[in-house]
Symmetry: C2
Subunit: 352 residues, 2 copies
């Protein structure tokens, strides 16, 4: 093992006291400019890695952005990240991803992990923190959950993607999810569907609440009577999609929905599988609409009609906002992007 | 902004010199035990975040593991990570993910980013670094590429997953990929296929070379004449799968393969789509085998027959090995896991 350079080695080589090196490292008290440069130079010239703290104090920034996200195995997040990464990289930043997913999908554990990551990222002296998913999707987060992020925001720029924390007044980049759900529902109504169910999501989460609101708005404006038992939440996974769709598709023909609007694409892929199990052909006997437009939405057979949340654009926009926050450039508190309907193969007029 | 605690505040409160605090922080010279404890106590009690460096020097470890991977949008990696994370978390570690993917799939840029991440992780004083994919999958990496990782391994435990660096003598956890490819090919041969093509992967990568070797071994042992134009590489994506499969499926019936062995599941999903475009039904007219067993292999229609690389088990095993490296417990240099054939719906005997 190579012995790391210590403050003593630097002091010795610069022929100054350890206290002087500390002053430069901590930027805590005036040091003669020529001495400061000499010390900086010695640290810089060493083949050894200067420690991150020292570097960041010299450079005033680390070039590092931490991202806290809830589940890297949901392809939605990697897509947003890849847009974010491309843009941020061109501006000289590098990312750390922090996956807060709990081993047993326990939300309390997940939010605890978010707290831990917030603390670690601050300790590691990142230049900025991006939160996507997790607690910022809760309709009613606890005061502590909000306060922790607000406190982090006092130390380092914090940006929320596709979520919010009531009263926190943090910078946000988000897609209008309610509008997205309206686009999906309107598409089904325009195809002639009147028996439409909504499946998926978590009812305590604001993203689900907004998607259901958009869905219900369109039913109401179309004069379609809403059936509360045809709005079924329970999760965002393929497995949940299979389960929720099965419940509805096992109803007798004529009593079951002719179209399923899904909380996300994974749920829609589950619905495709449930339909196949029940021998119901998509889109001839059942229309299915997804949400997000992850790559697999275009890879499924049939390809999914869905609502694009423009993952890449969201990511790129977020990187731009974060750069402005770090460089203290004025930027709008909230940036809202518009979703887009993507019609593929999984929707058609209802069978007569 | 809250003013961070500096070495000066600590020294003042502990009623010792800055040099003494520095000695404790750097662990560089003896300090009376009672004084050391007093200083540690003052830092610990502060509401302010002690900086990461100070913490890690007190604790002798940061509890952080950095993972460098080549493309988070390939679902194979999130699956391995999720196994790794569950196991490592139970041992008290936290992860940073570093995605080296280049914006335009430029490999030179990707390997440069790996170098940058290696340096950053060392600066951030992580306890260990895991490499998966990227340069460690190259059959012939440059000397510099190997040397950089060897140097990192001198400072901090480095573990390679499913790859290798010739001559580097680093710890590895890997699945026997050649054996996996043999399982897939033998399955097709046992179903009665004699006209089998291999598609996907990159010919300069050791993972592809091993998978093709396994494929060819089985053809040879089965007395099937190999056709070099039926081994087609070009990438690991769905788009590549579509393109490579199209080339073969556009050949006239009787002259085209009756089965496709794919370099990974994404390529197989592309092959499913190509077959559908050409009006060829799977598995009746064409058998398709994937590789990896990502979640979408079970979500596609028809569900993919594939080779499980046991992502979760690889991840969990890697976390265990990394923990042993960090705690300096003896552990085997190389751990090889066995892959497993998973028969689902995309394979059947050839049409007569």
């Amino acid at each position: 093992m190579i012995k790391p350079v210590t403050v003593y080695d630097i002091a010795k080589e610069a022929n100054v006291s350890v206290a002087t090196v500390s002053r430069v490292l901590n930027n805590s008290a005036p040091v003669k400019e020529s001495t400061r440069e000499k010390i900086a130079g010695i640290i810089a010239k060493h083949q050894f890695q200067p420690n991150a703290l020292a570097r960041s104090l010299f450079k005033k920034e680390t070039g590092m952005i931490g991202i806290i996200l809830p589940d890297i195995t949901n392809p939605f997040f990697p897509e947003v990240l890849s847009g974010l990464d491309i843009e941020a990289r061109s501006k000289g930043y590098t990312f750390f991803l922090c996956d807060s997913v709990s081993s047993n999908r326990d939300f309390t554990e997940q939010y605890d992990r978010e707290t831990r990551f917030l603390n670690i990222l601050m300790e590691k002296q990142v230049d900025g923190i991006v939160l996507i998913g997790g607690r910022i999707n809760l309709a009613k987060p606890s005061k502590e959950m909000v306060q922790e992020v607000v406190e982090a925001g006092k130390r380092v720029p914090v940006l929320l993607i596709n979520g919010n924390l009531p009263g926190a007044s943090l910078h946000r980049v988000a897609v209008d999810e309610k509008k997205g759900a309206e686009l999906a529902a309107r598409h089904l109504v325009e195809l002639g569907h009147r028996n439409i169910a909504f499946i998926g999501g978590f009812k305590q989460m604001s993203n689900t609440i907004q998607r259901i609101q958009g869905f219900r708005n369109v039913l109401r404006e179309s004069g379609i009577k809403e059936r509360s038992d045809w709005i079924r939440t329970g999760g965002f996974s393929v497995a949940q999609g299979i389960e929720l769709a099965e419940e509805l598709l096992q109803l007798p023909i004529g009593e079951r929905p002719t179209a399923l609007q899904c909380a996300n694409d994974l749920v829609a892929i589950g619905a495709l599988k449930a339909a196949r199990r029940e021998g119901i052909s998509v889109p001839e006997q059942l229309s299915i609409v997804g949400f997000d437009d992850i790559p697999f939405a275009a890879h499924s057979i049939p390809e999914l009609t869905t609502v694009s949340l423009k993952c890449h654009e969201v990511g790129r926009t977020a990187a731009g906002v974060m750069d402005k926050l770090i460089t203290r450039t004025k930027v709008a508190k909230t940036t809202i992007l518009s979703p887009e309907l993507v019609v593929r193969e999984s929707t058609a007029p209802p069978a007569v």
